[in-house]
């Protein structure tokens, strides 16, 4: 549902990156690079791939104060297949922004695609 483990994995990683940026008072781009530097060298290439592919969107969306949940809908690791169902979210949603979740998610995806300098797989 909504991307399952792929979605949850994305939310956890984006949340860690966002929290690193908060803790070290640094840009999201720097936190993303910091997070990759913490991973074992064997999977560093995977991290570099993620940065290349999704980095620009993640940076833009987090710097727009989106939550990890909405970022992952934005970069389509989470997908809302059933529009009548509520969006799955781990972190609190800002209530004023969420009058229409579906519209918001659609808008985010469009925004992420527009801003990203890399093609989405």
């Amino acid at each position: 549902i909504d991307g399952g483990t792929k979605c949850a994995g994305c939310v956890v990683i984006v949340a860690l990156v966002e929290q690193l940026s908060f803790i070290y008072n640094e840009t999201v781009a720097d936190s993303l690079a910091r997070f990759c530097s913490y991973l074992p060298p064997e999977i560093d290439i995977a991290c570099q791939f993620v940065i290349k592919t999704y980095g620009p969107s993640i940076i833009d969306l987090l710097e727009d104060n989106e939550t990890p949940d909405t970022v992952c809908y934005g970069i389509e690791f989470c997908k809302k297949y059933d529009k009548s169902k509520k969006m799955c979210h781990l972190f609190p949603l800002p209530p004023s922004h969420f009058k229409d979740e579906t519209e918001r998610v659609t808008r985010l995806v469009t925004k992420a695609k527009g801003k990203s300098s890399s093609p989405f797989p």
Binding site: D2, G3, G4, C7, A8, L20, E42, I43, C88
Partner: protein, 419 residues
């Protein structure tokens, strides 16, 4: 599948299938189901092989001599010059040596995700350094578990802390001839229906190996799944038939004189009751994610290991516990009703309940912090003690006597080759 049909890849595919489907070691040169590697279902799961080129040498093998070769890998080998008899013959024969086996689920395999992995303020270049090793063990820690634990947490102190105790360690303390004789057939997600297959991956020869003390624990997967309906729960009738099949198989496969302790299911309401308002590690930076939020999130995505108990809806939690209790009663009934020819099957109440009831500290310390579902390292060690105490008190005749030669073995063979 296409790649595996090419002859050059056949062997590789077979090795990989052994690991993924049969839960036997990926690296096992002689095919005796024991390995010299630790991970990939190797020596962390089953006693380390001391000769991976000879299928007649592996832990648990029944031997009367070992004058020249240590055929059961317990580190006892050679001839005593005074008596001209082998040490194995002098110090192990007739001492009722027994192996220790676990058949079970992720709790028995000791599922654990290091909380530091999800705690932003603790992240550093060392945090994920064991990531691949931990994945090679399927996120399980059988070497620290309550049945087959044999290590200390010292080696893993940044990933896991706490005491280690286990049935295997108790059995080894009783009799050092039991060194390395353990097998952990714990599989994440295992339930009674899958146990019918898993039980076949035990490496124990009825005639060539020593008897065992086996523990079967399937604490919750028969009532747990990620789905919101009861049709995924095992019915008492299915449970009875599945477990009857498992016991019959063990009766035909285990060495005569083996003992099997079987538990029922837990009452998982303790999870929500204990944790619901606590902060989950992923929310520790701002205190914005409680376990209740975490459980509901997993349910929303339908990836929860247990929709029923990891649920903010009390009705669901109660309903899940009701079915768990029915299955536990079914296990008791099955064991009472059935007798087996070669093995003794005994019922054991889930030791976790006693651990939770008697724990004086914060009950949250008894639950794995990341998944909010499994028993923690502290709990594993306490469960080992409660289990052992229960066995000694309730079935004193089952516990083998202490080996009077333990000291001599230790003096002569030291750590007996370690692990």
């Amino acid at each position: 599948k296409e790649i595996c049909s090419i002859s050059a890849f056949k062997k590789l595919c077979q090795l990989f299938n052994n690991f993924t489907d049969y839960h036997t070691p990926l690296f096992d040169e002689d095919g005796d189901s024991f390995s010299i590697e630790n991970t990939f279902r190797g020596a962390d799961w089953r006693g380390k092989d001391c000769n991976d080129l000879n299928p007649k040498i592996y832990p648990g093998r029944l031997t009367s001599s070992d004058a020249v070769v240590d055929s059961n890998c317990n580190g006892i080998v050679g001839i005593d010059p005074a008596s001209n008899k082998s040490y194995e013959e002098l110090w192990c024969n007739g001492t009722m040596a027994m192996g220790t086996i676990l058949l079970g689920d992720s709790a028995g395999a000791h599922f654990h995700i290091p909380p530091s992995w999800l705690t932003a303020k603790e992240l550093n270049t060392d945090t994920y350094s064991d990531l691949l090793t931990i994945l090679e063990n399927e996120l399980d820690w059988p070497m620290l578990s309550f049945v087959t634990g044999f290590q200390t947490t010292e080696k893993w102190k940044k990933d896991i802390q706490g005491p280690v105790d286990s049935t295997y360690l108790k059995m080894r303390t009783l009799n050092r001839c039991n060194h390395r004789d353990y097998q952990n057939i714990g599989v994440n997600g295992a339930r009674s229906s899958s146990m019918k297959e898993l039980v076949k991956f035990l490496a124990r020869h009825r005639l060539l190996d020593k008897p065992v003390m086996a523990t079967i624990e399937l604490l919750g997967n028969d009532v747990c799944s990620g789905h919101e309906d009861t049709s995924h729960m095992t019915t008492p009738e299915e449970y009875y038939n599945n477990m009857h099949y498992v016991f019959e198989y063990l009766d035909s496969a285990l060495p005569v004189g083996s003992v099997v302790f079987a538990t029922g299911l837990v009452d998982g309401r303790i999870l929500y009751d204990t944790l619901h308002s606590n902060i989950h590690p992923i929310g520790s930076t701002r205190g914005d994610v409680t376990y209740s939020d975490f459980y509901d999130y997993l349910n929303c995505l339908e990836i929860s290991p247990c929709f029923g108990w990891m649920n903010s809806n009390e009705t669901w939690r109660n309903l899940t516990s009701d079915r768990a209790l029915e299955l536990t009663q079914t296990m008791e009934k099955l064991i009472k009703e059935t007798k087996y020819q070669n093995i003794t099957v005994l019922y054991m109440p889930v030791p976790l309940h006693q651990v939770f009831d008697t724990w004086k500290g914060d009950k949250a310390d008894l639950i794995e912090p990341v998944d909010g579902f499994h028993p923690s390292q502290i709990t594993n060690a306490l469960v080992a003690n409660v289990t052992w105490q229960y066995i000694r008190d309730t079935y004193p005749d089952i516990v083998p006597p202490e080996n009077p030669y333990n000291e001599l073995i230790q003096k002569k063979f030291g750590d007996q080759g370690g692990y």
